[in-house]
Structure formats: C-alpha cells, structure tokens
C-alpha cells in the first residue's frame, strides 16, 4: 500500500524516505502474524506502528486498537515520547497511554473503563488486565499487538506468559494481528513460531542489516593477568578510548565487576571525565539521573551491565567496550548494535579480555561475529508453571470451559505439543493441589459448576492470584542507605547482607561504604575513605559461555599454531601442548598433579561455569564417598579444579555417566540450589505466595520457609507436578545439568588422564581464581559445634547451670 498523503508529506517534511522494511511492513499489514528482524536504529518502532497510525488516522475507531508490549517499563515511556512527534505533527486523532507497575491506581481504573487507542504495556501488566472480569469489553475492538524486543522476552518465561496472554486476546478479539520486532538473532524461525497463532504461519521480514560492525580486541601495553574478571589492567587504554569518542558504553558481565571497574576507573580519571554507572542494583532515582544525563549527552562514558541492553535510545553512543569475554556471541552482536544509531554507519566495538584464557575466548567470539555464527540453545516446550499461573489468571476473569482453554493454550507455539493429559494435570494442580493424598476435596481452589465450567471456589482468592502474577524471579533484596540522611544507594541480596559484620566495607554505586547496622530491612552504611573494599563483591548473574563459543575454542585448540592470538597467549597454549595436552572436543581431559601438599584433579569439561560448578558439587560428593577427602573446588567456564588430601589415581569411574546421574538424583533431595529452583517454580505456579515485602516485615511466626515445603513434598509426594517442573528446570539455569549431559554424550566415556609432576599451564590460572568452594559435607556439624563451644567459652557461661 502507498502512504496516505498526510504521511507522505510528513516524511517529506522531515527529509526522510520510507525504509524498504517499513514499506514491507505496511504492504503485509493484514497478515495474522509477522516478525521483523532489524538492527538497532533501523526505524523498527515506526515500522511497527505505521499501519496503526494510518488505520487510526480517520478517527473512526472507538476504544483500544493497538497494544504495544515491551520488556521494560522505561521502553514503554520512551516509545510514548517518540510516537507523540508524528501524532502531533500530523494532528492525528489518536490517544496514546502507557500502563506499567508505575501507573497510578486512578489512571489504571480509568484506562479499563475508557481505554486509549494505543496502550503501551509490559507482559505482567497485560496478564493482569486479562484477569479482570471486564477484559472482554476492554479488548473487544483490539486490532493489532506489537511485541517489541521479542528476542529478549523470548529468552525467559516472560515470553511464554505473554504468548499465553495473546492466546486469550485472540479469543476476545478474533482476527487480531500480531507483529514482533526483534534484534538480530540466530534462529528467527524459532521466535516466529512462538509468536504465531498456531498453526497459522508467521512470515519473517529481514531488514537490511547495515554495514558490518568494526570490532576488535583492545590492544594494551600491559598483558592481561592470568586470572580474575575485572579487567583492571586495561583502564589506561579504556580511558584513552573514552577520550577519543563522544559517548562510550562500557559493558560488564556482572554488577560486581561493573562496580569494581567503575571505582578503579575513577581512581585513574585524573581529568575528571564525566563517567557514570548504571546497573539493576542501583536505586531507581540514581539510575534515572544517569539516564537523563545520557540523553542530554553530558556523559562521556557509562559503565553498565545488561540493563542497558535493550533498545532505548540513549543518545549519541559511538563506541561499545565489552570488558570480560562476551560469553555469548548473540548478546555481543546485540550490544554492538547499541553503538551508532545512524543506520548506515558501522558500529564500533572493542573487546577487553579480563584474563589470559579470555583472550582465546575473545578471538573466538570475534571470528564468530565475522562468520555471522550466532549462538543459542533450542528452547524446550512451554513451561508448565507458567501454564498453571495462566489457568489461575483465566479463572479470575470468570468461569471457563476446560476444552476452550485447552484449545487456546495449544494455539501458542511453545504449548502446541501439550497433551491433553498434561494440560489436565496442570488444571488439577490449580484446582486441588494435585497431591497423591487427595486432601483438599473440601477446599478446592477451582470448582466445576453444574454446567461443567470451572470457577474459583472463593472469589476472594482472585486478589491473591493477581498479586502473584508474573514470572520474574525475585531475589530477596534489602535497601542500602546512607546512615543519617537515609539516602538510598541501591539494593543488595539479603543473603549477602547476612554475611556482613559491622565494619565490613563493600562497593555500591561506585563508592566504598562501611556496614554499620541493619534497620527495618535496610542496610545502614557510612562513607569509607579507604581505596580498597574489604569485601570485593556481591552476587550477580554469572553467564555461562555458550556451547557454540566453547566449540569454537576447542576447534582453535586443534590448530598447529595460533597466528591470530597475541604472542603471550599463543606461547601459553604451546606450552600446555608440550607439557600436557590441549583439550579436545570429543574427549574429557583430566590432569592430576600435587602442589604444596595437596592433590589436584582438573577436569576440562567445557560445559560452562554453572554446569562445571554442578559437576564440582557432584564429584566432590562422590570423592567423599570414596574416602578421597576432597577439600574444595573451583569452577570456570571450561574446567573444574578439585583439591584434597588423597590423589585420584583413576578418574574414569568418577566420570561414568551413571555415577554422575545417580549423584544428581541424590543431590535433588537436599541441595540448596534445587530448593531455590523449586521456590521459583512453586511461586510461579501459585503453590506459594510471593515473598512480599510487607509479609516479611510483619514477621509473624506463621511465616515459614519454602524449603520445608520442598523437603516435605520430596519425602511424601516425589512425583508431584511442581517437583517434576523443578527437575526439568535444573537441566538449565544455575544447575545446568543439561550441559553436563551434553558433555557426557559428546565424549562418550573417552577420558584422557594425564598425570603430571607439575601444575599444567592451563590449570595454573585456576589456582588463582576467586570463588573457591570448600566442601562442607559431614564437616558442617563439626564447624557449628566448634563455633558454638568457642562462643560458650568466650561468654564465660559458667554461671548458668549446665
């Protein structure tokens, strides 16, 4: 279709020509689903909205026409601002509003009674909207749904929740058209299949990807260190780059690393270049200040984490620096896309390996980017905990027929293969708890009415269900405040806060603070003049290196020489080949050696950090059973290094698949990570209520840990739905057992044991790694007992009768 004259004129006034992909979107606007893949800065948003603006231009549409869903509240606000320009300049009769967790209650109420033409929202707010009894009225006239940054949503359960909500909207407004907007991804077909209203197709539209990015490794005078993840050595070179560019984004893989780097950057920033920090643990007011400064162009650089990954237009960024190996090529490419929003200029990026091994990883990633070889693991079928939540949300909106809901759910790509039995299990879980012991016949959550429809037994339950909508995993965090003025600095995990004792110093918001006390769920701190914090880190996400990138590294290891690597790194690999072996793709290399009265065992599994850590926990358990007295281990993305009192003479039995599988099954019964996984699944599925701040604050004795529920369920009902889900989830994420299985399949028991008389070059950096995990095992009670008796002695408790 051609642009209407008013639009034609508007484009002309701005001196723009319509991009080919924007025209394509317009031509194919009547398709039931369409996925646009376009690089950042390609006018993606306008491409998505153009058909809506044209359809609404004559002012005849009443009520909601287009729903826009994005993963970030900030993105919704940003888009609202950007859409205002064409709407105002063309004087279009269109009302645009956003609706997120930040929208006021009055505004939300009004939006339900009198919805705008275009509503900008998030998956969670949309799920909540579909839970109201008036949802059919509100969505009756809906014509289009635009899902922005769909590649980001698709990586988590938020995407699954959104697609289930869309299946609901399709029932309320048949013939609804769906548009997905995505950054460059490795498998657009998979995202299209998720977006489609199954079995209808979802064609893919590829925009011109623009020129190849200019991406290199940052060359520094100083060599990268052997271990660690901070990249501190690169600071002079990074400052030099910042000086030469308008605005630089300096990405880090974890919040802790961003904090440390930012701190060190300022220690070296003699000229006082305006440099800010931005990550998810910072207080919202602080973050907004940095964002405003970025938009205003008053910052030279921003040290940040993934919170800046999404497509918000932050102004004139012309350089991306990635500190630490990117771990994942797709994420790297998307980050590079943040630089240079002028469509036809190449994006510029520099990689800074944090240590010697990461040099190899960075070179492998550079080659992958050049080869357009993006990584990503195929997703499993739709998660059942999200389905359970969807069933409960559906019940909030009013009575429903199981057959109808099953038909809706299986129109979602991820749930297309869901069997009726599996669906009924989830429905039964929502209705009765799904326990082997049929205990809740009297107090079911959902009841079947005389005419066969399902409804809530107690309508008051709707409130609880609505309050628990969402799939984002909350960790318990506490606020950090400056003592005296109560200025909030950010959040830290409660588990980290619990380890602090008064006087401990740590980094937050780029400054070193001293822990003073805990008060009303906030940590009180004072400023500290020291230059080095006592406690270097607080927990953050650790990304595991992707399978594809690992394969590339293993292929590189098989080269005769490494002209593409810096000499220091090539020589290091050469030495490893000479003294021991370089790991191979289809074999597991195991090295053993003694060092300072400890026996070491190094297993090169190349399974990613989380899986290598799980392997660490499983193997130390096995070693303890065999009386090998393991004392600890450390895991990296490529290997796990164990140490203990006794040498392992034959590692083969330790690494038998059945041994590892048995260990995993046993591990399920008591492991803390499993309990955390259970808690997430149980919260999403509605088995337990979310840990709301007010509930924690009220602190009643009635509150008890979800760990108790896990233990009880595991003991009395091990096949329960939520435990099945927990086992499935453990295959990825923090436990990542799936990558261990992948390693075992890939190597098929081919183990190369190399006994050495000295530390191998590849294992040496691991001895310097942080994050060593001591083996607790049976020693745990002894430690407790010793601590307790020491305390008893110190307290001089002889005056109390024993």
């Amino acid at each position: 279709m051609t642009l209407p004259p008013a639009f034609e004129e508007w484009f002309a006034q701005r001196g723009w020509a319509i991009h080919p992909h924007q025209q394509d979107m317009l031509d194919r606007k009547d398709l039931s689903a369409l996925l646009l893949i376009a690089p950042t800065g390609g006018g993606k948003t306008l491409a998505g909205f153009l058909p809506t603006l044209i359809e609404l231009a004559d002012g005849t549409h009443d009520g909601l026409h287009t729903l826009y869903v994005s993963p970030l509240k900030a993105l919704a606000a940003d888009i609202k601002r950007n859409l205002r320009t064409p709407v105002e300049e063309m004087d279009l009769p269109i009302r645009i509003e956003d609706r997120t967790g930040d929208t006021s209650a009055t505004q939300k109420k009004r939006q339900r009674a009198d919805p705008p033409h275009i509503l900008l929202t998030t998956p969670e707010s949309l799920a909540l909207l579909t839970s109201y009894e008036d949802a059919p009225r509100m969505f009756a006239g809906l014509r289009r749904v635009i899902v922005d940054e769909i590649h980001a949503l698709s990586e988590s359960k938020r995407g699954d929740q959104l697609m289930l909500a869309l299946s609901r909207l399709e029932a309320l407004a048949p013939g609804l058209r769906r548009v997905g907007l995505s950054a460059t991804v490795e498998n657009p077909g998979a995202i299209a299949a998720e977006l489609a209203c199954h079995p209808a197709p979802c064609p893919i539209l590829q925009a011109d990807p623009g020129p190849e990015p200019d991406i290199q490794m940052l060359v520094t005078d100083e060599q990268p260190p052997w271990s660690g993840g901070g990249g501190k050595y690169s600071i002079p070179a990074v400052l030099d780059q910042v000086r030469q560019h308008n605005t630089t984004l300096i990405f880090h893989n974890t919040r802790a690393q961003a904090e440390i780097f930012f701190h060190n950057l300022w220690l070296a920033n003699d000229e006082g270049l305006p440099i800010g920090i931005h990550h998810g643990s910072l207080d919202r007011a602080q973050r907004e200040k940095v964002e405003a400064a970025m938009v205003a162009g008053s910052l030279k650089a921003i040290v940040c984490t993934g919170t800046l990954d999404l497509g918000i237009d932050w102004g004139d960024v012309d350089l991306i620096i990635q500190v630490g190996a990117p771990k994942n090529v797709k994420r790297l490419v998307q980050r590079i896309g943040r630089a240079n929003h002028r469509y036809n200029a190449p994006s510029k990026a520099l990689l800074v390996p944090a240590n010697r091994f990461e040099v190899v990883e960075c070179v492998a990633a550079l080659e992958a980017v050049k080869a357009h070889d993006l990584d990503g693991d195929p997703k499993g079928s739709g998660p059942r905990d999200v389905l359970c939540q969807h069933i409960l949300i559906r019940a909030c909106a009013g009575p429903f027929e199981a057959d109808d809901l099953y038909a809706e759910v299986t129109s979602v790509g991820a749930f297309a293969g869901l069997s009726r039995v599996a669906f009924d299990d989830c429905l039964d879980f929502c209705a009765t708890g799904g326990y082997a012991l049929r205990a809740y016949d009297k107090w079911k959550r959902l009841l079947k009415t005389a005419d066969g429809a399902w409804q809530l037994r107690d309508p008051r339950a709707a409130r609880v269900i609505r309050m628990n909508i969402g799939t984002i995993q909350d960790t318990d965090t506490v606020k950090v405040r400056m003592k005296g003025n109560f200025k909030p600095l950010g959040d830290i995990e409660e588990a980290f806060a619990a380890t602090l004792t008064p006087g401990d110093t740590f980094l937050i918001g780029g400054q070193i603070v001293r822990y003073d006390s805990m008060r009303e769920l906030s940590v009180q701190v004072t400023r500290d003049a020291n230059k080095v914090p006592k406690i270097a880190t607080f927990m953050g996400t650790k990304f595991a290196t992707s399978t594809q990138l690992q394969q590339r590294i293993l292929r590189m290891f098989q080269q005769d020489s490494w002209p593409e690597l810096p000499r220091h790194t090539a020589e290091w690999l050469g030495l490893q080949r000479e003294i021991s072996k370089l790991p191979e793709r289809d074999r597991i290399l195991v090295e053993t050696f003694s060092f300072e009265a400890r026996e070491y065992l190094c297993v090169y599994g190349f399974a990613g950090r989380n899986a290598q850590q799980t392997l660490g926990l499983l193997l130390t358990q096995r070693m303890e059973d065999l009386g090998l007295h393991p004392m600890g281990f450390v895991a990296t993305d490529y290997a796990t290094l164990y140490w203990g009192l006794d040498p392992v003479t034959d590692p083969t039995p330790l690494l038998r698949p059945e041994t590892i599988q048995d260990g995993f099954e046993h591990w399920l019964s008591g492991n803390a990570v499993m309990k955390k996984t259970f808690r997430t699944a149980a919260t999403i599925a509605g088995l337990i209520e979310r840990n709301l701040p007010q509930a924690r604050k009220s602190g009643r004795q009635a509150t008890f840990s979800s760990d108790i529920l896990y233990d009880t369920l595991y003991k009395y009902d091990p096949d329960h739905l939520i435990l099945q889900i927990t086992r499935e989830e453990a295959l990825e994420g923090l436990v990542d057992f799936g990558r261990i299985t992948e390693m075992l399949n890939r190597t098929q028991g081919r183990i190369d044991h190399v006994p050495l008389t000295r530390i191998s070059p590849l294992a040496a950096p691991m001895l310097l790694e942080r994050g060593r995990i001591p083996v607790a095992g049976a020693a745990q009670d002894r430690i407790l007992e010793e601590t307790a008796s020491l305390l008893m002695d110190n307290a001089g408790l002889s005056q109390l009768p024993q």
Partner: protein, 230 residues
Amino acid sequence: MTAHPFTFAGLHLQAFPSGALWIAAEMTLVVSDLHFGKSDRIARRGGTLIPPYENTDTLERLDADISKHSPATVICLGDSFDDLDGVAALDDSHRATLTRLQAGRQWIWIEGNHDPGPVDVGGTHRAEVEIGNVAFRHIATPATPEVSGHYHPKLAITGRSRPCFVYDKTRLILPAYGTYTGGLSAQHPDLRNLFADHAIAVMTGRKAIPVPLKRKVPQALPGRWRGSRP
C-alpha cells in the same frame, strides 16, 4: 542422638535434638506448637494449596520420640492445632496414630492462642500444669519459673537458621515441633528481652548444641523471616 542436659529451677532436663524436652524424673516428654491442620486452614481461607503432609510428618517424628523414651506423660504445650476447626482436618489414620500414642499414658493438651478450647482426640485439656514449682504454659508470663512455647525461637550461627530452645535461670522457651512452623530469631528483641543478659540457646538438628545468646540489644533488629509465606 545427643541431648543437651541442663538443670533448670531444680529440674534435671534434657533438650532433645528433635526439639522435644525430656524430664527424666517424671518420665515426661514436652513438645510445643505442633500446629496440626496448618495446610487445611490455609486452604479453607482461600489461600494456596500447600502440600498436605505436615500432620503425617509431625506425627512420625513424635512417634519416634515416644517410642524411644516411652514417657508416662506427654505434654503438648499449646498451639497443637492450627485452629480448632483443624481438628476436623485430621484424617482417620492420623486419629488412629494419636490414639495409639496416647494409649497407656497421660496426655495433656495445654491450651494455646490457636487452640483455646478442648479437642475431641483423647487426652486432657488444661490451661497450664505445674511440675515442682515450674509452670508449663503456652505463652511466657512474668510468673516464673516457667516453661513455654509460642515464639518458635530460631537461630543461625553458621549457615541456615534452626529451631532452638532458649533458657536462662528462670525461663525456658521451647522450639516449635510442628513441621510447618516458621520462627522468630532468638535475637529479636521481642524474644531476646524476655531473658536475662546471660541466656543460652540450644540448637536442634542432628545434635543438640548449646550456644550463648548475644546480650540484649536496645535497638530494633529486623526480624529474620526466611522463606515464603505459604
């Protein structure tokens, strides 16, 4: 199993790692805050449907303590039932187990704030009882020496927090014995300030381990409420 033996107001007592208290001279076992029927109560009130196995689990552990020590008297120190309607939630097998455990011994239900009235599952219902000059009641009062429950004391020294006994020279508070029970940190002012400066907590678990409590703190500490609210 290693118990923690101690003398309290003239009574020779043992704190069991299970959370039960043993008075050898009286052949008496004391347990507190069993909270039978917790999951039923939550479900009845339109809450979530948590695993309905707490009655079975609590009874299994109580059965083990009773079988091992064959007490002449069992005192349940209040909040034995999560509410009085929860008695109806006991199924036939739970009732049969209780009847078997009660056979041949005195069984006293002390009333608690959750279960203030009599229950129809055998045993005697009492507001409080005395052994020697020590009162056994549900909630601590100024009238010491006394043994009570109610607060569900917990403590963490290394790692996870565990239910614990807390005592000084005149007051002893038992941990909650029921499977679905949360807890209040023994350092929380509401609990800590019931005791003298020198007080001892006895951790439950594989062994009963005594540890001194920190001195009283005037300032309010955050309650260490762990986990989710089911």
